[in-house]
Every structure is written in structure tokens, then in C-alpha cells.
Symmetry: C2
Subunit: 220 residues, 2 copies
Amino acid sequence: MSVGSGHIPNETIDRLFSYLRPLMCVLNRGSVTVSSRELAEICTVNPSVVRKDFSYIGSLGTRGVGYNVRELIESIRRALKFDNDIRIAVVGVGNIGRALLEHPRFGFEGFKIVAAFDSSPEKVGQTVGQVTVEDAADLEKRLQSEAVQLVIVAVPEICAPDVARRVGDAGVNSVLSFTPCGLAMPDNVNVTSVDLSLEMARLVYHSCSQEGLRIGDGAA
Amino acid sequence: MSVGSGHIPNETIDRLFSYLRPLMCVLNRGSVTVSSRELAEICTVNPSVVRKDFSYIGSLGTRGVGYNVRELIESIRRALKFDNDIRIAVVGVGNIGRALLEHPRFGFEGFKIVAAFDSSPEKVGQTVGQVTVEDAADLEKRLQSEAVQLVIVAVPEICAPDVARRVGDAGVNSVLSFTPCGLAMPDNVNVTSVDLSLEMARLVYHSCSQEGLRIGDGAA
DNA sequence: TAGTGATTGTGTTCACATTCACAAGCTACA
DNA sequence: TGTAGCTTGTGAATGTGAACACAATCACTA
Ligand SMILES: NC(=O)c1ccc[n+]([C@@H]2O[C@H](COP(=O)([O-])OP(=O)(O)OC[C@H]3O[C@@H](n4cnc5c(N)ncnc54)[C@H](O)[C@@H]3O)[C@@H](O)[C@H]2O)c1
Ligand SMILES: NC(=O)c1ccc[n+]([C@@H]2O[C@H](COP(=O)([O-])OP(=O)(O)OC[C@H]3O[C@@H](n4cnc5c(N)ncnc54)[C@H](O)[C@@H]3O)[C@@H](O)[C@H]2O)c1
């Protein structure tokens, strides 16, 4: 019972994606193979974690040698259903929306922003990044005609629930929201909220907690 | 053995923070108490999760009644070491940095951006949000004089490792980075990277996975 | 072809987090 | 005062991922 027959843990999914960037570096460096130890070092994880992660998507390595970098990248993308570019739309071209649209890196990583929407007449018609901002009134229709797979919601908090509902109705089932409020969504729609406040609170908490650990560091 | 004598699970820390926003709403609504069932419903978690989370920071509820909202907020903030405003600096006032500086919500949530830095002469001297952009050359000195607890790094990828190192040297031990590359940091510095690509990849993966589950939804 | 050194793949063990179930304890009311 | 109806707090069971150790397997060399 090997090749991806069963179920892949959530944490493994995340790590599989996070291996892609370092692997591209290794590939550009000219290496043909990479060992679990080396990759683990780059990603600061345990080597056995790397091996077990790869074991979920099949036996890709050669004992005594390591993993073929090119094959590995290919297999990870396949496992993550990341073969083709992911088609994205941005709703709300304010500070955040603009930053996303002008961010060139997404294009290199397999994400393609195919449309942007705003309700403000001033914004509609502007070209930002690779796309021209469209009127939010046409949202549903255009999401379908552009075969959008994922929508990034970057509108003011008060509008977010309404926008999210419309996105869901249009048949898109992945939403990345920048408003930390909970968006009521049907079961078939996955929502993730980017909550910077939470990240910051966590960081500060952990820094404070380890404060007490700095004991006995007198010069020895 | 009750009141926060032991160790609080990481997941609980995250959830405790995430309860704060809904609790503020409940408070503004005028409710004096809230039950674990009600709060769980708002946050879409299991009620027993809520109760166990609160049990880690002491016995705060009244059986048969629920939790006093005001006391609860107070206790959570205390447990998270969130009594005073967290002092933050932003390095790199580009698209992302500007969005953060102009975001008013952070102020209401207990985060205070006390300084911003950029290396571009055009940016230095500009006032964005509540602060005036300073020259990045003064970074270390100013981080210390402003008693900054957390630095948000929003500079181009190529500069990030250098900026991070300087921040660490200045004695700040919490860094929130927008570059997804791994930043080598001493052990006493906590780094979190905001990786939107990862979030998007995860969303799409899970949407694709549950595709096969839509079986037998013929009109019944 | 046999021996050596290196690395993968995985069964097992361990640690942590979620869920469940229920006794303990509070309020309200007659 | 006693009873009924909730809701909390928590021990125990369950589920899930991480760490570990080691046999299986490969390339290389003589
Ligand atoms: N800026 C930050 O650093 C930051 C941090 C955390 C969370 N957020 C959240 O992200 C969201 C966006 O932030 P921002 O700073 O870009 O806000 P912003 O005010 O700069 O931009 C919002 C944009 O949405 C447009 N808009 C409003 N209603 C709309 C609708 N119904 N349909 C389409 N477009 C609509 C507006 O015209 C505007 O262009 C907000 O909810 C904010 O709370 C922002
Ligand atoms: N914009 C996005 O949507 C997005 C998404 C994901 C990640 N990121 C990452 O976030 C970071 C910032 O993105 P951005 O869009 O704001 O970039 P940006 O180019 O708009 O802004 C970068 C700013 O940093 C300043 N800077 C450069 N070197 C500096 C130094 N040594 N010290 C201080 N300031 C310096 C520049 O003058 C500029 O103002 C980048 O690493 C980017 O890859 C951005």
C-alpha cells in the first residue's frame, strides 16, 4: 500500500507546497538529486518528516542517492492538483487589492489573476498589474466566464459578507478573505481568513513566554 | 490545580485570541454573560473546546449561567500578555507597508505602530497613517529608543535577510515577514512568514478533494 | 560479484489535541 | 427550603501527527 492510495494529512499538504520554492532553487543551482537531509535543513524540519511526507505521494526516491529534483517537483504539483495555473479574481482594489495585483511573484508560482472588481466608479476602468478593474455589478457573470477557481476578498469589512455570498452563489468554492470576521458560507465553499492581528499576538505571546527561559547565561 | 498553573496548548492560544473579537461584539450588544454554546456557535467550534480553552486560564464561568463577558475579555488579554498595547515598527513602506500603516483597525485591537522605515529617499519624510517614515539607516537605534516589541518586514525579498538580521541584533525578538523565504534567525527571535501562496494552494487543494463528494444530489 | 557506505521507506512509539460524557454547582421559582 | 433546569469544569477515550530506529535497497568500487 504505497502510492497515494490513502489520505494525506493536512500538515503534509502544507509542507509539500512549502518544499516547492526551495526545490526550485536547488534545481536552478544545477543539482539533479536532493536528499531528505539536505531539504530538511533548508526548511528547518526533521528529515524523517520530509521522507514521510513524500511517502504519501508515492515512492519517489532512490535509496542511497536521494530524490530526483525534477521528478519531485512534478510529483508534488500533481499531488496538490497544481498542474495548471490557478485562476484568481480580486474583489476590492484598495490598498491590499492593489498590492496583490501589482505583486509579480504570484505569476511565477502558478497563480494567475484573471480579473479584478471594485464598486467605486473611480477604480473601474483603471489598469492595475495585468488586469483592468471591472464593475463589481458584473461579478457573478464574469467569475463564471473567466472560470475563476479562487476569489480574494479585499473589501471593507461591512461589505465582506455580501461579497462572499455572491462569490459563493457564482459557484466559486475557494475564498481567501482579508477581513477577519467569520463569513457564513455553504458547506461546499472553503474560506480562509488572513488574520495578521492573530499572527502578531501569537508572536508576542511566545516571545514573552520564553523570556523566563534565559536563565544562567552568565559567561561560562 | 486550576488557575493557569500549567502549560497552555498552542492551539488554545490562537483560539483565545480569536474569541476576543466576537466577545467585543457581544459586549457592545449589551450582554453581560455568554455561554460556551453561544460563543462556540459564533466561532464555529465545539462548545467543549471553548470550555477547555477557558479552563487553562482559570475557572471563569458560573455554572448554570455562563461567563461574564467583561471579565472574560480581561482574563484572555491577561493570559495572552496583551494588557498593554503592542509596540510595532514597519520596515519597507511599499504597497504592503503602506496598507498596514493606513489600516485603522490595528489601533483598536491593541496594536500600536510607532515607527516606519524605508531606504528610499523619496519615502523618507512622508507621513503615512500615524507615523512619519524614517531612514532605514537609523533602524537599530530607533527600534530601541521606541521600545519596539515586534517588527513587520515588508521589503523586497532580496533585502529581507539583511533587514531581519539587523532587527534581531537590535534586540527585537518578534518578526512578521511578508517574504516567504526562510530567514535565518537566532533562537531567541520568533519569525512568522505570511505566505498567501500557501493559503491559496491549500484552499484549491481542499476544494478539488471534496469535488468527488458531491454524489447523489439529484433532486429528492 | 561481493563488499561498503549512504539514503530511503516505514512500523512503532510518543506527544499532543479534540471529543465525549457526566458530576458538580449555580439560578430561579414555588 | 427543595426541586427543576442549565451550564460549567474535567477525567477518560479517541484521533492525529511527529519522532525515532532500523531493515531494505541502491550506487560504486575493486
Ligand atoms: N490594509 C491592511 O493592512 C489590512 C490589514 C488587515 C485586514 N485588512 C482588511 O482588508 C480589507 C481591505 O483592506 P484595504 O486596506 O485594502 O481597504 P481599502 O479601503 O483601501 O479598499 C477597499 C476597496 O474595496 C472597494 N469596495 C467597497 N465595497 C465594495 C464592494 N461591495 N464590491 C467591490 N469593491 C468594493 C472600495 O472601493 C475600495 O477600493 C478590509 O476589510 C480590511 O479590514 C486590511
Ligand atoms: N504585494 C503583495 O501582494 C505581496 C504578496 C506576498 C508577498 N509580498 C512580499 O512582501 C514584500 C513587500 O511587498 P511590496 O509589494 O510592499 O513591495 P514594494 O516593492 O512595493 O515595497 C518595498 C519597499 O521596501 C523599501 N526598501 C527596499 N529595501 C529596503 C531596505 N533595505 N530597508 C528598508 N526599506 C527598503 C522600498 O523602498 C519599497 O518602498 C516583498 O518581499 C514581497 O515579495 C508581497
